[in-house]
Amino acid sequence: MLSFDKVTKSFGANTAVQAASFTVDRPMMIGIIGRSGAGKSTLLRILNRLTDATTGAITFEGMNVTALRGSAKRNWQAQCAMIFQQFNLVPRMDVVSNVLHGTLNRRSTLTSMFNLFPDADITRAIDILDRLGIAEHAPKRAEALSGGQQQRVAIARALMQDPRLILADEPIASLDPMNAQVVMQSLRDIHEQDGRTVIANLHTLDTARQFCDRVIGMRDGRIVFDGTPEQLTTGVARDIYGADASFSEAATSTRIETLGTTRPRRPEPAEAL
């Protein structure tokens, strides 16, 4: 379905991503973990074509994504929604308008300039907001919402795109543990109910373990681990983070329960629903 073939990105002398190759054969939820600066964000940005790869190719269902130009590229971006750490909403516009921005690829510049969206799209936007539990904030300005709510608006914008893929770049890094839980659960629900592939950059191990079907570990631009959460032992995690024996998973945890305990618990699949 989706495959990366030796994707490399260099910024001058620095290499952010070094010959990244992996294949996704069915819709799943993938977590990419690694230290800050390991190349996780660059990898997602290359997939969304916000950044161009220096060499290598990405193929999605036979289409070479890295070679797309102009409207074909924008069309791909509409199918491959992106969620950002800092939400990247338009702060002074209302929540529904921000969600409607998900349809911009299908709208002409003139109608979007006058904010003319079809009633059906407006109804659908509010339905999506309701699915994420924030319908009552629909007419408010995006900037008036809390971080967790803004991130859910960003997810609603992504869903409005009706995308094949959802990319989430550190979606919970600026949220408190409660909101982080809600946002990750929403992403998991979207994967399970709609069958969309979700790829999320995470910097906490337990989140990756709890919500993802597959974990990819990156270190200094290279993919150093690719497997199931069960295969991600503490030893492997130490290698990914380049840490010594004093490293404990609780150190990177954002879960409330782990604050007092030493070992996070992996919930049963039923619980993750």
């Binding site: 006058f114 904010n115 969206f117 407006i122 109804t123 509010i126 339905d127 309701d130 009552e136 007419p139």
Partner: protein
């Protein structure tokens, strides 16, 4: 079940309310666009009727003067370098007037801007009156101030400099204070917490945040002032404007010298523009490492 039904009607309510709001917004926008277009067309027709010569008849002649100037300049292009050197001293005088007035105006404007920014000004009740002072400085055309000062002080660059500096104070005071409004108050609060005076808080807390914007507004003003001081030359304030008036009044056949003066003005505006982007870049991104010692 009742809960689900309740939430469904709630969402339907939200959708209905938002759709109603969106529709009324669209109607309002449409009305505003229609009014705008009507005013634009009506205004244009009125202006065209009152125009002495008739707008449409005069339109084809609009390029005659530039065509004459350029035509003669090309015809006598070999004389151009001589003219450029001949008028360089007047250009320097004009740029000097603009530079001095921008510097004085920007300094006064900086102080005024901090005094008239709500939330920053040390004397809240002075904010309104001082803003009106800035309004007056902007309202009086600089050519009027220059004429009055030339009458009192005699012709020369000093009256022009004062006139432009006063206008610059008014303009930059307003622009700077708008920049100040967007500055974060957190550094100011941080400095207040260590016991800094108002002047210290402003100089060390606000100015570093807004300096790049100040600089770009000041340099834009410098460009405008070069042109303004050239215009004031027409009324006897010296500089390149005086020469431009003379060459233009000599009429056809002498436009090549006017072209040389236009060229000099254009080149100096380009130079200021380039300088502006280089300085701004250095201020926002810092000097390249190693560049300082070279």
């Amino acid at each position: 079940m009742t809960d689900i039904a309740g939430s469904a009607t709630r969402v339907a309510d939200i959708q209905a309310a938002y759709l109603a709001q969106a529709r009324s917004k669209r109607v309002m926008n449409l009305i505003l666009i229609v009014i705008f277009a009507a005013l634009l067309i009506a205004g244009f027709r009125t202006a065209d009727r009152r125009n002495a010569g008739g707008f449409w008849d005069g339109l084809p002649n609009i390029l005659d003067f530039p065509a004459d100037v350029i035509g003669e300049a090309i015809e006598r292009a070999h004389l151009l370098p001589g003219y450029l050197i001949k008028y360089l001293p007047s250009l320097i005088e004009t740029i000097n007037i603009a530079g001095a007035s921008t510097l004085l105006g920007a300094m006064a404007g900086l102080v005024m801007s901090l005094l008239v920014t709500r939330g920053l000004g040390p004397v809240p009740w002075l904010v309104g009156p001082l803003r009106r002072v800035l309004d007056i400085l902007r309202a009086v055309p600089e050519i009027v101030i220059a004429l009055v000062l030339i009458f009192m002080l005699g012709g020369g660059p000093v009256p022009a400099m004062i006139a432009i500096a006063l206008h610059t104070t008014g303009a930059l005071g307003k622009l700077f204070s708008e920049v100040n409004e967007n500055a974060s108050l957190r550094p100011v609060e941080g400095l207040a917490s260590v016991g800094a005076t108002w002047t210290q808080r402003m100089l060390l807390g606000v100015v570093p945040q807004v300096a790049p914007n100040y600089l770009s507004y000041a340099l834009l003003r410098f460009e405008i002032n070069i042109r303004a001081s050239a215009i004031l030359g027409f009324v006897g304030a010296g500089g390149i404007g005086y020469d431009l008036r003379n060459t233009m009044s000599w009429g056809a056949g002498k436009f090549d010298e006017a072209a040389a003066i236009f060229l000099l003005l254009f080149l100096s505006i380009v130079a200021v523009d380039q300088m502006s982007s280089i300085l701004r870049h250095r201020l926002t991104h810092g000097a390249k490492p190693g560049e300082i010692h070279r």
